[in-house]
Amino acid sequence: MHVPDGFLDAPTSLGTAVVAGGGVAFALVRASRRELDDRTAPLAGLVAVFVFAAQMVNFPVGAGTSGHLIGAALAAALVGPATATLCLTVVLAVQAFLFADGGVTALGTNLLLMSVLAVWVGYGVTRVFLAVLPRRPGSVPFAAAAGALVSVPAAALAFVGLYALGGAAPIPLGALVTAMGAWHVVIGVGEAAITFLAVSSIIAARPDLVHAARGRLPVLELRTPEPVA
């Protein structure tokens, strides 16, 4: 999903960089005011590191094609959407500048697609599922997996939209929608599976740190035993 330099023309790349910059600035403010506290901050670091690592492991999806985790819905469920945007932003910047993975002039495009759009779409779908699933921590991995499943084709189709605005080569849009959508639905299934496993692990170990489990932990009641007469 990492867009290289050259796929999109300069005005479109610049436009996506401006919008992505706005999204990241919003995330900086929101994360520091509403999500990051001394208790949850270490998990934000762990999520960024895990997403970087997992993104290195391409899994085959058939016909000589592979996919890898984006981690947007995973991060949003664990540390909240604004902090997730910051995690993905750090990962994408490290990849672009150190590993030449994803273009440098395309960094704004990749930030917009993965650290802003995939995060908020994934988180939105996760919240919808949380609203209907039983109100306990065990529901969180299922809701996060659903968000993950949708977030990948959503980012792929958003790329098609950007390509329609400023693609370098004239490509029939219908064919691009079909190909990008179909492959990324399959990759989304892998994304959902990894997200389910990762979120389940943290829910099992420390549900109290998980953003999407807020308000779903049993309230501890202090009871004084009845005096025996």
């Binding site: 005011r33 990051l36 960024a48 290195m56 592979s66 500048f97 792929a156 490509i171 190909a179 740190l209």
Partner: protein, 106 residues
């Protein structure tokens, strides 16, 4: 909730960090080398050749290898470990900065 004791945050981060190092340093060596979804689509629809080399293509870590190490698995695994460390340092710096600014605002 169960009554078993939960691991401390420190323990969770240490174990999670070790898992991440294993994934980036070892498991990544076995990753599929096939083009990803976007590269595949670009190839079949005929716009793959519009990609240009990134300005960072000359980085010693470009394409998840360490320049100068010819053994593919060693080079890729070491690049993964260095990437995990770089991500950890940048993210920790950002979080600490935000926490400090957040406290300053009250």
């Amino acid at each position: 909730m169960s009554t078993r004791t939960r691991p401390s945050t420190r323990r969770l981060v240490v174990v999670g960090g070790l898992v991440s190092l294993l994934v980036a340093g070892v498991l990544s060596v076995f990753a599929s080398a096939s083009p990803d979804g976007l590269e595949h689509v670009a190839g079949t629809l005929g716009f793959a050749d519009t990609a240009r080399d990134s300005a960072a293509a000359g980085s010693p870590l470009a394409d998840y290898g360490v320049g100068g190490i010819s053994n593919g698995a060693l080079s890729g695994g070491l690049a993964g470990v260095l990437g995990v460390l770089a991500t950890a340092v940048v993210m920790a710096g950002l979080v600490l900065l935000l926490r400090r600014l957040g406290r300053g605002r009250g």
